[in-house]
Amino acid sequence: MEMDKMGVVTTFLHNIVVYNIPLLYGTTGEIIVEKSGSLNLGVEGIMAVGAIFGYIVGCYANSLGVGILTSFVAGALCGLLFAMLTVSLQANQNITGLTLTTFGLGVYFFVGNGVKAVNWPAMADYANIKNGFADIALPGLSQIPLLGRGLFSHNILVYLGVVIALGMWWYLNRTQTGLRLRAVGENPAAADSVGINVKRYQYLHICLGCGIMGIGGYYMALNMSGSFNSSCWINGYGWIAVALVIFANWNPALAIVGTFVFGFFNTLRVSGSSLALAFPEGLGWLSSVPTQLYQALPFLITAVVLVISSIRKKKDGGQPASLGLNYFREER
């Protein structure tokens, strides 16, 4: 039997990118939030809110751009809620974040299942959305054999996600406001004493980060391309993003690599058997690995990374020193 072995590899690479870029959005967003000193465990819920509103508004407007903007605003509003409660009202971050997940998933299902009189639109029926989400081959790069079509022929949101991640890396490391933001996450009292408006930095960046997560949620909806159905589009990706932040050592550029690594396992779960079929001698064993192991691997790896980095007590680790602690000015 003659098989297009190269084709299998290319499709595999292509799938790694297509199905896992939402992780990059979630992770980049969460890194921005955590760099301001806030641990937001609401990623899953925020992505769900971004998904449902981006989907509905995007379809009714028949515009991908409107959908993206709506999902960003919906996510940012969740961030605003989180910031009001934790920054201004000093509420516990873990509790607020977890509640945001419950609440966000509640909103997702309530809106999706609840309004039963309405027939939800199918995204594939809207020409502007369908065409807007079509693959765009990068000239030159996409011609590289084997890798080209796998890595450099994707929809606009893939490129946008990578650009946002690289942009955020640049922002955090090369701009004054970015450096100040990191100071806020490390030691808010010290940042406050040199005249940085800590609250404003926290509010802005929590909203920005959550907005980026919202776009990630919309991407997941677009990937399904159909209409709302009662299973959740987000399906745990928000939690993987929380893990990926640690794996990427709070670095948005490394998050791109991390997305590829976690995405690799994710894709093995789905198409490991086609690899095994194409390369029976070398990769035949892949078909005997339980798929649940691939699903657990991102979390297992992150757990190991967490333990090892705490044993080594890395001084140059990317984790903000004040992560998870509220800053109460009067208590300095």
Binding site: L39, M84, T102, G114, G236, P290
Partner: protein
């Protein structure tokens, strides 16, 4: 003019309760407005929800039994989590500990159930569930005290490791996998309720499951433990200030390990109650109690008595919304999740005004913040 926020001395108990009730009422009103916008009568919906559809229902006792099946795992898990939270140990791994406890208890049921007398099997199920869950939890505590590993993030990761472990058991057909139903072509978990299950005490038509009694007993024991024993006192001191505890000669690390082990053990026990009652494993065996329990414990401010009240209410919310969905088809049962979220958000906001006072001061004016 500048605005200051200062800590206030404690409010009276009555005032606190009033503020919290106000927050809950606000959430209900917001939910009611949403219902109104959808063309649903909020009063009719809420009365259906809060009575859980039991009024005028011939099989109301069944509804009560099913409600208690939701209540017991939730209340035991919440009480368990409150132990760890009191020490500011962020055990958000309740889901994972519950799953391992459930698998351990089911293992005993399948393997020993057919040969041992029922009470012995049930006891062993509880012990196995407690041990497995306890070890899963204390492992994190050990890493925390030894290396300072973040327990929040690590327990979070371990939840998913456990989830995919039980998914693996549920989806893998093999000769060794005694958890699955042998007669089914598709992989589904086997039911062991014919082998062993917690008995019910009949009161008229209503059957009171013994786990309800155990849950109440656990609540009383933990209340006494926290309030009147030396170990309970140690937990409070470590939670307030580990430095003070250390200075007072307490072995802080040992207290943390012991308490987290106890916390996780109780979650395993909740899991044993659950599988011992329903008689079957499932990948959704936790019913999210590991998550909801965190919210309950926090809403109750880690007070054991309040945990019972709040668990009962959250149970009503969850069970009632399902019951109400039968009458009001256009309102999805996820309304309960939204309402639960809104209640907690408003309580968290109200909390601020209980802990702090907002002071308006003229610029340059003298204020020491205590008025």
């Amino acid at each position: 003019m500048s605005i200051h926020v200062v800590k206030r001395d404690s409010l009276s108990f009555g005032k606190k309760v009033l503020i919290y009730l106000g927050a809950v009422a606000t959430a209900l009103i917001l939910g009611g407005l949403l219902l109104l916008a959808m063309g649903v009568d909020p009063v009719a919906y809420y009365s259906r929800m809060f009575t859980m559809g039991m009024i005028g229902n011939k099989i109301a006792y069944k509804a009560a039994e099913n409600y208690l099946k939701i209540f017991v795992p939730l209340v035991v898990t919440s009480v368990a989590l409150s132990l760890a939270f009191k020490m500011r140990f962020w055990n958000i791994g309740g889901e994972g500990q519950f799953i391992l406890g459930a698998v351990a208890a089911a293992t005993v049921a399948f393997q020993l159930g057919p040969i041992l007398p029922q009470p012995v099997t049930l006891l062993l199920m509880c012990l196995a569930g407690m041990l497995c869950a306890g070890l899963y939890g204390v492992m994190v505590a050990a890493l925390k005290v030894k290396f300072g590993t973040s327990e929040t993030l690590l327990t979070l990761m371990l939840n998913y490791v456990a989830l995919y472990f039980i998914t693996f058991l549920g989806e893998t057909q093999a000769a060794w996998n005694f958890y699955l139903d042998e007669e089914s072509v598709r992989p589904i978990f086997a039911n062991f309720s014919k082998i062993v299950s917690f008995p019910s005490i009949p009161i008229g038509k209503f059957g009171l499951n013994v786990c309800v009694i155990f849950a109440v007993l656990i609540g009383i024991l933990i209340y006494v433990y926290l309030k009147y024993t030396k170990q309970g006192y140690e937990i409070a001191v470590v939670g307030d200030s580990p430095g003070t505890a250390h200075y007072a000669g307490m072995k802080v690390n040992r207290i943390i390990l012991r308490t987290v082990f106890l916390s996780a053990c109780l979650i395993g026990l909740a899991a044993a109650f659950k599988v011992g009652t329903v008689g079957i494993l499932s990948t959704t065996v936790t019913d999210d109690v590991g998550w909801t329990g965190i919210i309950v414990a926090w809403l109750a401010q880690l007070n054991t008595i309040a945990i019972f009240v709040i668990s009962a209410l959250i149970g009503v919310l969850q069970y009632g919304s399902t019951a109400a969905a039968a009458t009001f088809a256009q309102v999805d049962s996820s309304f309960a999740d939204m309402l639960q979220g809104a209640i907690l958000f408003l309580v968290l906001a109200a909390d601020f005004f209980i802990r702090f006072r907002v002071v308006f001061a003229k610029k340059g004016g003298v204020t020491n913040g205590n008025g």
